[in-house]
């Protein structure tokens, strides 16, 4: 058995560890807040979560008996259209840093990063329909 250590200053609240764990031991629950629940110990002889984390927030070490589960909480920023929380603050900051500014605003002046993916898709479909019907 090994213990899981999570550096909460490094974690950005993405899905990499949860999606990679072959045993599904890392759980994520989304509401207004994203809760990421890590087991305190892991019996698996793998380092997949440690390697998957691009932020190097996870490390596996010697077992600490009786250590509790680790829960990290991130406020989810709501979509400006449907108002459902969809992105953590550190993830949004990461996107703002990696996408050039001129691409963060579309031709209509919209800051699309503030909309959730399904609202972006719906908006684009609306635009296609409107321009098609206008002809």
């Amino acid at each position: 058995m090994r213990s899981l250590f999570v550096d909460e200053r490094r974690c950005i609240g993405c899905l990499a560890c949860k999606e990679s764990c072959p045993e599904g031991k890392i759980r994520i629950m989304d509401d207004e807040v994203r809760e990421i629940i890590f087991p305190s110990t892991c019996g698996n002889d793998c380092t997949i979560c440690e390697e998957a984390c691009q932020e190097k927030a996870i490390s596996l070490g010697d077992e600490r008996p009786g250590a509790p589960e680790i829960t990290l909480r991130f406020h989810l920023i709501p979509c400006e259209d449907c108002l459902r929380g969809f992105i953590t603050e550190p993830m949004l900051e990461r996107l703002k840093a990696s996408i050039p500014r001129d691409l963060q605003i579309d031709s209509s002046g919209l800051s699309w990063l503030r909309l959730c993916p399904s609202c972006r898709r719906a908006l684009e479909r609306e635009r296609m329909a409107a321009s098609h019907l206008r002809r």
Binding site: A16, E19, S20, R94, P100, L103, P117, E124
Partner: protein, 149 residues
């Protein structure tokens, strides 16, 4: 570069493209929705020439290569940044990996081959817009003929 183009005049909303895509890839990377009870709109990855999904990818699983975007599934850690970085919401996560249209790896895309009405075309942009313009002119001239009679 060739891309998948949609002629909305021809789309029936039958969703055959979704079925074909799902058959090949396990889940469909193209989605059709019908708006205002009359216009059906298929949407799939636009293959952006400045691909924000690739810019956001921290593991270089999605990489801009010339005019296209390549994807190395083994590098994808399922973080989900790419789907939040798509301006059109056209990237998904499926089985822990980023899921977006790759034109069936440049072979004839299954959705295009299946579309019964010819609404989807896999063409160079210029070729597609020329064909669309030609059809528009033909439509207009038929309408004028109708008025003359």
């Amino acid at each position: 570069m060739r891309s998948i183009y949609v002629d909305l005049d021809r789309c029936l909303g039958c969703r055959a493209c979704e079925v074909a895509c799902g058959r090949i890839h396990g889940t469909s990377r193209i989605s059709v929705a019908i708006l205002r009870d009359r216009i059906s709109i298929p949407m799939t990855c636009r293959q952006c020439q400045r691909a924000t999904c690739a810019m956001a990818c921290p593991t270089e699983a999605l990489v801009q290569e010339g005019e296209g975007i390549s994807f190395v599934p083994e590098r994808c850690n399922g973080c989900g940044l790419c789907l939040l970085a798509c301006p059109f919401g056209l990237v998904d996560l499926w089985a822990g990996k980023a899921e977006r249209c790759d034109h069936c790896m440049e072979k004839s895309p299954a959705c295009v081959a299946t579309c019964p009405s010819g609404a989807l075309a896999f063409r160079e942009e210029m070729a597609f817009s020329k064909a669309a313009r030609t059809r528009a002119v033909l439509r207009a001239s038929r309408a004028i003929e109708g008025v003359r009679r």
